[in-house]
């Protein structure tokens, strides 16, 4: 067959051509990787677009916030145990809790070589009052907390706030300081995306950014005032499957599911770390729609009839811990271990329900974990006499329902459980129309005077020890009341090669090492 032969030749040629293309592609890729003799330490991490990294341009999610923080420093920094001095080397709080004096370090430079002074700090706070950044903590219940900022001298600022509040130091300390000489003339910061917008005073300079590839390249800032960067270059690159990329050495750290742990355990090449449990799911009652939830016995019956340990084993496959009924998770710096615990107990649940049966619709998101979790909860609650209909929705639809109170029961998953204990107030204290937060919006129809009072007292208590005692007491009341049911907190695993880099550290309130600025720097 002449024709077939000819075709065979054509196909063979085509295959050859394709292989040549592939081969040349391979070699060009490799030569790019091995350039340079004295090798700087380059760390590669899984990328993804997180936005233009100014305080106004990044996307409102973790990866954007923390990448931006590498470029822009703040007065304080989040260390492993709490806030640590950063741009401010020390500070004083007046006895009435209304004046904060920060002493800035000397010799701090912006990436363009200009000195950072108290005027920049004053400018930043005033600019944020007019143009709130994406991550804005300088308002409480919608009200700006700062009343006045005075430049005492080049290295001292005095900030006056409207009322004493235990969370203010962290809020002021967390705000990014931006250079006045660049931003003073910017009217619409959301649209300001010139290269100079990325001039900060942080340890890293953004050298390259590709939005569509989701790639970032950070280089250590030579004139950085603070602890020396240990990593010379941090790169975020596109990755299709994190574990494949890690195994091939394309990235240097990855999160792994518990099923894959065995691959890396007992192997000197790898180091596995368990993240602190600062991300979690909770089950929320709508007491406005279903007034019977105002009865503590019914809520406690739910708590007894949900087997959190089973959820941890079957849904999170061990990479989680049952949540505390007092809300603050085990890894929280102020976790109270003496709160009431609700071990799985169907008989007790039945007893509390006094033979009554109930039927509810429970809204959940559409992730696999939530669907599995809901099915398990449905089975165990049915044993106690509570029948559930489960409805799965996409994230935004569920959020809208949660916000409007358009549900009977809803499961919500979010991060931030490690934040300042004041989050108890935003969740549990009755505060109609006070705005929302991932943990917030209060609880529909719930009002408890003891909880409200404790929440407000801890907020204005400036002595950390006294405040801690109040927060411990508050957790005990909450655990007894169970106004909502915290289900479990995830403790994902990460794996990395310590021979390449071993500096990964957790911030005291956050579960991701790659998000910590201190992960890339020498210890102070």
């Amino acid at each position: 067959m002449k024709l077939i032969e000819r075709l065979q030749i054509i196909i063979a040629l085509l295959v050859c051509a394709a292989l040549m293309l592939v081969a040349s592609g391979c070699s060009s890729g490799k030569s790019a990787g091995t350039a340079g003799v004295t090798k700087p330490l380059v760390i590669n991490l899984a990328g993804g677009d997180a936005g233009f990294l100014t305080p106004f341009g990044h996307y409102p999610r973790g990866p954007g916030i923390f990448k931006m923080n590498l470029i822009f420093d703040s007065l304080l920094e989040r260390g492993e145990k709490g806030y640590i001095p950063w741009l401010a080397e020390k500070w004083e709080i007046s006895a009435d809790g209304k004046t904060y004096i920060f002493n800035l370090r000397k010799g701090i430079k912006w990436h363009d070589g200009q000195p950072l002074t108290a005027a920049d700090v004053k400018f930043s706070f005033e600019y944020y009052a007019k143009n709130p950044p994406v991550s804005d903590e300088l308002a409480i219940n919608g009200k700006r907390i700062i009343e006045a900022i005075d430049v005492v001298d080049d290295h001292t600022v005095k900030i006056t706030v409207d009322k004493p509040n235990a969370t203010i130091l962290g809020r002021l300390g967390n705000a990014r300081i931006i250079p006045r000489h660049i931003w003073a003339t910017v009217d619409d910061p959301k649209k300001f995306n010139k290269p100079e917008a990325l001039i900060g005073c942080g340890p890293y300079i953004l050298k390259e950014y590709s939005k569509e590839q989701g790639a970032y390249k950070f280089e250590a800032f030579k004139d950085y005032w603070g602890p020396k960067p240990k990593v010379d270059i941090v790169q975020f690159i596109p990755v299709s499957d994190n574990v494949l990329a890690f195994n091939k050495g394309e990235i240097d750290l990855t999160a792994i599911s518990p099923d894959l742990l065995a691959q890396y355990e007992n192997n000197k090449e790898f180091m596995i770390k368990k993240n602190p449990a600062f991300w979690g799911y909770r089950l929320i009652f709508n007491m406005e729609k279903c007034p019977e939830f105002k009865d503590k016995n019914i809520r406690q019956a739910f708590a007894y009839a949900i087997n959190a340990q089973e959820l941890v084993e079957k849904v999170a496959r061990g990479a989680a811990v049952p949540a505390s009924a007092g809300y603050l998770p085990v890894d929280h710096i102020w976790y109270n271990n003496n709160v009431k615990k609700y071990a799985f107990n169907i008989d007790k649940a039945r007893e509390l329900l006094q033979g009554k049966t109930f039927s509810y619709t429970m809204l959940i998101g559409n992730s696999n974990d939530e669907i599995r979790m809901a099915e398990l909860i449905k089975i165990s609650l049915a044993q106690a006499g509570i029948n559930l209909t489960v409805r799965s929705l996409d994230e935004k639809t569920r959020d809208a329902a949660a916000k409007k109170g358009d549900y009977e029961l809803i499961i919500n998953g979010h991060g931030g459980w490690g934040s300042d204990a004041d989050l108890l107030r935003t969740v549990y204290a009755n505060q109609k129309s006070s705005g929302q937060s991932p943990s917030g919006n209060g609880l529909y129809g719930y009002n408890n005077e003891t909880i409200n009072e404790l929440c407000n007292r801890q907020l204005t208590e400036l002595d950390p020890d006294k405040r801690k005692a109040l927060v411990f007491q508050l957790q005990e009341v909450i655990a007894e009341e169970v106004p909502q049911i915290p289900l479990y907190n995830t403790t994902g695993y990460i794996v990395y090669r310590p021979a390449k880099y071993d500096g990964w550290r957790y911030m005291f309130d956050h579960h991701e090492v790659t998000h910590s600025k201190i992960s890339y720097l020498e210890s102070m």
Binding site: S240, K248, S433
Partner: protein
């Protein structure tokens, strides 16, 4: 022409209203994916943003200003991505369009050749096995095929990169090297899309060729003593190709759909990921932009198909 305009208007109207009727808004973040954290906006901040993007006005006013802005060529500014929608989509569209055009062309040409050969060898072993293989390929979902190829070609054999459209931060000595790098990254996504569409083109080409081969003028050609390849690829193919080529343009919408999924598998920098994100984030302005881009592309191609069909087949006027 008028029908295209009406269709277009209908589509952009749907694009405008459907997203806004979905529950949720671009600024409320109450939940987050596992181990993700989000920023919490206060009610006051949400009001401020809504005013900034004009989302506080009644829907009908928003619609009128949307149409007005569009006539002036202003598609808008993405809420989440913080960038002009035209620039945002434009940069990624090039990647997606190249993927789609290349894979469509390859699958069409390959389908034509294989289909013709199958028709020529009708009912012998070659035809039967090819038929079986093609049916199998066309039934495997593109993203699954993509995953298989990713594991085999990138992870196991290591011939191709795992992700992305080009080597990150690489410096290329020559444009040729850069082009090769891009081709190298595109191989797996293109193969995935080709395999997903090949079966369809193969079937059409085969049946079309069978019809043509039974025509009288084929007997004439054979009678003239022309070689088999000349008969097949010169005389028969020209007529058999018409339905395949029109099909190629008409299937553009489906291929775009397939590309969206495949891009997500390979983390390819096209419009696909952007589209998924825009819907999940309720970024109305971006959604409008992306769906308009798809609508315009598909409508244009349908129009081209109409024109081409008229040209290729003189019987249609």
């Amino acid at each position: 022409m008028a029908e295209y305009l009406v269709t277009f208007l209908f589509i952009i109207t749907l694009n405008f209203f459907l997203p806004r009727l979905m529950p949720g808004d671009p600024f409320t973040f109450l939940s987050a994916g596992t181990d993700e954290v989000t920023v919490a906006y206060s009610e006051e901040q949400i009001e401020k943003y809504k005013a900034y993007y004009g989302l506080d006005k009644p829907l009908i006013n928003q619609y009128v200003s949307y149409i007005g802005n569009m006539l002036q060529g202003n598609i808008g500014y993405s809420i989440y991505y913080n960038e002009d929608v035209v620039a945002l989509v434009g940069k990624r569209a090039l990647w997606t369009v190249s993927l789609v055009v290349v894979s469509l062309t390859v699958s069409c040409v390959l389908g034509l050749i294989l289909g013709s050969l199958a028709a020529w060898n009708r009912n012998n072993a070659f035809d039967r096995y090819l038929y079986l293989v093609m049916i199998c390929f066309s039934e495997i979902p593109a993203f699954l095929m993509g995953l298989l190829l990713l594991f085999a070609g990138a992870a196991w054999l290591g011939w191709f990169p795992l992700a992305g459209g080009t080597s990150t931060f690489a410096v290329f000595a020559t444009p040729v090297q850069q082009a090769l790098d891009i081709v190298h990254h595109a191989v797996l996504p293109v193969i995935t899309l080709v395999l997903a569409r090949l079966g369809e083109f193969f079937m059409i080409a085969r049946s079309s060729m069978l019809t043509v081969l039974s025509k009288d003028y084929m007997r004439t050609a054979r009678g003239k003593g022309l070689s088999k390849s000349r008969i097949l690829f010169v005389h028969a193919l020209r007529n058999a190709a018409i339905p395949v080529i029109t099909r190629m343009f008409l299937s553009l919408g489906t291929v775009f759909g397939g590309a969206v999924l495949v891009e997500n598998v390979f983390n390819y920098p096209g419009v696909g990921q952007l589209m998924r994100e825009s819907v999940m984030l309720r970024d109305y302005i971006l959604m409008q932009g992306i769906f308009m881009f798809f609508a315009v592309s598909v409508l244009t191609m349908n129009f081209v198909a109409d024109m081409l069909y008229k040209k290729l087949d003189p019987r249609i006027t």
